[in-house]
């Protein structure tokens, strides 16, 4: 009789398919995680359609789509990672999913490959949809150099990793499956307001900017602005530059803290 367990990576990859299938069949997740940032892009762009910012020396005028594109991409990273995993895993802790899995020979590593895989696939598709809509429906400007797109890629995926890990961490907060939405959504909404997604970050009071800088979302948004805004805009940022090195460090610290926290706290089931 075969006794060799299926490989951790192989099971993990099958988990990605299983998680994606579950995700697209969950209307709440598809609407509030997948389509929400796209919808907000459409609403903001339409609402401020008269907006035109002339940037001396940039050689182009910023429209509302240009202004909101990086913010909505950052929102996508936050909702696809933190919000999606925070709610999803809180529910799985309380509805018996983790208990059922813990009774099977699956490795927690496979489980997490499935979770991260689902986030990475859905967030990538979401970002593509946002960028294409901004470009082809609203005529937003897209960067033309490989270098800027590479910056986008590392900010996006590093940010997504931090955002996902933050989601795993906050999934510990809700005390029941029913309260998952109510507990997870408000902090995420507040984080969006103070991190420059709905409101322009530079118009916030300085103490609030400093507070928001503790969290990764502000840095992700800043990284995206560096990609999509004319370089002249950096003078408006806190400190007058994009500080991409700080963006990388801040997000990486979140990833590291999150990994340690998850390794220390994650249990399939609390044994009593």
């Amino acid at each position: 009789m075969k006794t060799e367990l299926p490989s951790i990576l192989g099971v993990g990859i099958r988990r990605i398919g299983y998680e994606l299938k579950s995700y697209i069949r969950t209307p709440d997740a598809v609407f509030f995680n997948f389509f929400f940032p796209l919808m907000m892009l459409v609403i903001f762009t339409a609402a401020f359609s008269n907006l035109e910012i002339d940037v001396p020396g940039a050689g182009r005028v910023l429209t509302s789509a240009d202004v909101y594109l990086p913010a909505m991409l950052a929102m996508g990273v936050l909702v696809s990672g933190t919000q999606n995993l925070g709610i999803d895993m809180a529910i799985e802790k309380h509805d018996g999913t983790l208990r059922r899995l813990s009774g099977s020979p699956i490795s927690p590593v496979s489980y997490f490959i499935g979770k991260f895989g689902q986030v990475f696939v859905s967030a990538t598709l979401q970002a593509v949809a946002i960028v294409l809509t901004a470009r082809f429906v609203f005529g937003a400007y897209l960067p033309e150099t490989i270098e800027l797109w590479l910056t986008f890629a590392w900010v996006f995926y590093l940010g997504l990793l931090a955002s996902s890990i933050l989601g795993i961490a906050i999934s510990a907060l809700p005390r029941s499956a029913k309260s998952a939405n109510a507990v997870i959504l408000p902090p995420i909404l507040i984080l969006q307001f103070i991190s420059g997604i709905y409101l322009s970050f530079t118009t916030l009071p300085e103490w609030l900017q400093n507070f928001a800088s503790v969290f990764p979302v502000k840095w992700i948004g800043q990284g995206f602005r560096a990609v999509f805004y004319p370089d002249q805009f950096k003078s408006v940022e806190l400190g007058g530059d994009w500080f991409l090195d700080q963006v990388a460090i801040a997000i990486a610290i979140w990833v590291a803290l999150g990994v340690v926290f998850t390794l220390l706290t994650f249990r399939w089931v609390k044994k009593s």
Partner: protein, 286 residues
Amino acid sequence: MSAIEVMGLTKRYKDFQAVDDVSFSISRGETFVLLGPNGAGKTTTIEILEGFRTRTSGEVKVLGQDPQKASRAFRARIGIVQQSAGDLGRLSVRDTITHFASLYPNPRKVEEVIEAVGLHGKASEPIKKLSGGQQHRVDVALGLIGNPEVLFLDEPTTGFDPEVRRAFWEVIRGLQQEGMTIMLTTHYLDEAEELGHRGGVIVDGRLVALGKIAEIGGRESRKPEVSWVEAGVQRIERTDDPTLFIGELSKRIGSAPENLQVKVPNLEQVYLQLITDHRNGVKIED
């Protein structure tokens, strides 16, 4: 060889003794039923064997291993039928079972398992759309899919229609014929009689009886009971040999005794007596 060995198992919470010095063993291929009222310690015991709970003291071996240190390889050899908790639902019966099959080294065939639990007509339906009884059959299917050597079922038919329970018993009988070792808890005595080879009765954390289902409680508690009406008075007498007793009785009365009945205490009566005796502090021998 024993599939499961439990020696002096004790589980203490702060001010509550959930399981108190329980010992039993289960042979390979045997179906063992743990009976007891609600809150008696059945679930705590089975969850310790499943590796979901830690124990305070005692020795526990499932397939020769300590379930508290359950490895993935150990998990592949046992099956746990979980209580449906609403965690499944969006994917179809077949997709879900197929996925779980992929977690095991040596799974059963998905279609055969679907057939065995009687869900072949519903295989493409999302689990959410099934009735409660049908959803529970998915739980059974997921407990079986890894082709376990030992299967654990904790109150598997609570809340079932009589019809669904009978169908479920048929599934279990099929597994018994294959030689699977099964441990189940229940508070239904008919279920214990239908399915169990051996069993134990647990009351307030203590095992008060252990043995073959047909012999639980010992000979004394199973003594047939003869009742009749004599001179307008209801009489009851317990005897090892009712035939001889009735013969003598008829001779004494001079005619056939009025309202004559012979009853052999069934499991339910024995069980209820065991619980009463235990709570009244009567010392019971196995």
